[in-house]
Structures are given as C-alpha cells and as structure tokens.
C-alpha cells in the first residue's frame, strides 16, 4: 500500500510538475550590445507553438538575409503594437545561421529597433521538424503561424499589413 501511495505521489509530481512549469528553456543565449537572443532547438521551441492560454500568437519565421521577410517585418511590428492590448503576441523566429547571430541578427535588431520578441531556432535537421510546424509547409520562408486556444492557421507567403490584419481578424474573437 505504501508503495502504491509513493508511486501515485511520484506520478502526480511528474504530471503536475510539468504542467505548472511554463518556461521554455533555450539551448543557448547570445548577447551583444545589450541585446540578448535566446536560441532553441525544435524540441524546446515546440512549446511556443502549443501554448494554451488566452493569447493569440502570431509566429513569423524569417531571417535577416531573406528579402521578402525583411520587407514584411514592419507589418508584424505594427500588428504587435496595434494589438498588444488585445491579447495578441507577435513572435519573430529567426532562422539565421548560428554563427551570424552576433554579426548580423543582433545588429539588424538594433538598426530596425525591433519591438516584437525575437528568438532564434537552431535545429539543422529541418526535415524532422518542418511538418511539425505545419504539414503543408514546404520549408520556404517567410512563413507564419497564427494560433490561439480554438484556431490555428499557417501561411507560406508574404503579407501586406492589411492582409496580415485581415487574417488575424479571422481567428480573434
């Protein structure tokens, strides 16, 4: 009997322990000129794609070298500003090469004064994780996921601000 209680206790600790820790741990952090960027492998990053709270997340996959991505970044920034009081959060996921974080990514963030949160995804075996983001993603960027507790959408395309806002409006209540 004691043993069963002990096992149940362990089980409860494991299950509830996991549920209560909502922090996603990076594999590495970079800092340069006062800016810090956290880098995640896909296993840890996956938590950002599956948050179960009141917020609507707009997750944009981009890189500093990707022209159409850089072109649409201001629209994601504007969306983040305009909807910050409406439980909408924009997350910019950089796919820059790890060795370019300090030389390209952080200087770019400073130059453009990016306000939305920027994180870095570092997991070279893309074939293993692209379909976990969206089954219909071929792997080209820019690509964007929008989701909340009730709805999830994926886009492998570029946006104007109006297009982006219209898509957001289809999933926020």
């Amino acid at each position: 009997m004691k043993r069963i209680v002990l096992i149940l206790g362990l089980f409860a600790t494991t299950v509830f322990g996991q549920a209560s820790t909502n922090t996603i741990l990076p594999i590495k952090s970079y800092s340069f000129n006062g800016i810090e960027v956290h880098s995640y492998d896909f296993k840890s990053f996956e938590g950002f794609l599956n948050k179960k709270d009141e917020t609507t997340y707009v997750i944009n996959f981009w890189a500093t070298w990707c022209l159409p991505c850089v072109k649409e970044l201001p629209y994601f920034e504007k969306l983040n500003q305009n909807y910050k009081d409406k439980k909408v959060k924009v997350l910019l996921v950089s796919l820059d090469m790890p060795k370019k974080i300090e030389s390209n990514l952080i200087p770019f963030m400073l130059k453009k004064k990016l306000q939305a949160e920027v994180i870095h995804l570092d997991d070279p075996d893309a074939n293993a994780w692209i379909e976990k983001v969206a089954t219909n993603w071929s792997g080209s960027i820019p690509a964007t996921v929008m989701y909340n507790a009730t709805s999830r959408k994926f886009y492998e395309r570029s946006f104007t601000y109006v297009e982006l806002e219209n898509e957001l409006k289809t999933i926020i209540k």
């Binding site: 990707c66 022209l67 070279p124 893309a126 074939n127 692209i130 080209s140 960027i141």
Partner: protein, 203 residues
C-alpha cells in the same frame, strides 16, 4: 450595365480560382514524368535533358546565387556532380529566380558565380520563370532526382540534399546520394521526399 458587372465579376472569379489552383496544386510528385526544357547555360548555349544521350537520369537542382542555403550547398552540389556524372546521373542546376526581384540572381552574376566556384555542371537560367512552377519547386536549393525511362524522365526523389545545411561535417543522412545509389543498385529508394528550410523562389 448589370450584365457587364456580372461578367466582370465572373471573369475575376475564374481568374482568381485559376491562380489559386496553380499555386496549390501545381508541381510533380514522385512517379510523375518531368518535363524537358531548353534553357540558357552560363556559356550562352541552350541545354536540354534530351542532349544527354548516355545519361541514366539527372540530379536537377533549383538553386541560385544569393541564398545562404544555396551557397552553403555549392561545394556539396559540385561533389555530387563529380561523383555521379560518371555513373550516369549528372547535376543540372537551374536558377529559378527573377532578377527583377532579386538582382543578385541575374544571368551575368550566374556566370560570375559559376566561374568563381568552378561549377562542373550546367547552371541554367529559367528565363521568364516557366520551368520551376511545372516542377513545383518552392525554394532554393530544391532537388528533383529523375530517372530516364522509355516513358520519359520519371521523378524519383524530391527534397533536400542532406540533413544539415549549416554544417557539412555534422551530416548524418545524405538523402540525394542514398537515392541515387538505390537507383544505381536497382533498389527501391527508402526516403523519397524530404523537406528543408530554403529561400522562397522570387518570381
């Protein structure tokens, strides 16, 4: 006037539908017959798959000058050509990008890059961006492995070159090599499609 409006509306609908259809359903799947083409090489001569009478097939790679992923794979593409040309599977590289959108992918800069890197394979320009949509390439680099048969060039593998774009020394699985080796040995290809992050094609 109402009729005109209606007709215009109908026309718009048809146009939009066709556009959507093209965007989401175009492109080859494994087993399809791939189209031949006649595209300008960096030596100004036209190249077609049909020119290669002795080839057993082709490693068609959509790639370009500017994309960091394409650049990261240049040496590996050269190595593929060196290894498999002699075995009947030469590399045919095609730049699908429109230089009006991405000036670094102009024909002149293709010539420069091919010379700098010493490309051992044709590097063709998809002028007018007509071939890549038929294949269904969405990004660079994007590989289509073709096997020549009496019915035409059959698509046998679509996807990435290997499983690590950042670091060649950390590669665990060489998808294209494994696929070509299987064809050479007359075996079934184990992994027929893969995905990788790449630069979207600029049309």
């Amino acid at each position: 006037m109402k009729t005109i409006k209606f007709l215009f509306g109908a026309l718009l609908f048809v146009t939009l539908s066709a556009f959507t259809w093209n965007n989401f359903n175009a492109g080859y799947k494994v087993g399809d017959v791939a189209t031949d083409f006649s595209l300008k090489n960096v030596d100004n001569k036209k190249v077609s798959l049909n020119d290669y009478k002795d080839a057993k097939g082709f490693i068609v790679v959509f790639t370009c000058n500017h994309c960091p992923y394409a650049i990261a794979y240049e040496d590996r593409i050269i190595a593929l050509d060196k290894k498999y040309k002699a075995l009947g599977y030469p590399v045919i590289a095609i730049n699908p990008n429109n230089p009006a959108v991405q000036p670094k992918d102009s024909f002149d800069l293709m010539k420069e890059r091919a010379k700098e890197k010493g490309f051992t394979f044709p590097y063709l320009f998809d002028e007018g961006q007509k071939i890549y949509p038929q294949y269904g390439a969405t990004k660079t680099p994007h590989v289509y492995l073709l096997q020549k048969t009496k019915e035409g060039n059959i698509v046998k593998y679509i996807g990435a070159i290997d499983d690590n774009s950042n670091d060649e020394t950390a590669v665990k699985t060489k998808y294209v090599e494994n696929a070509v080796n299987s064809l050479l040995e007359g075996k079934e290809i184990e992994v027929k499609t893969t995905k990788a992050i790449g630069c979207s094609i600029k049309a």
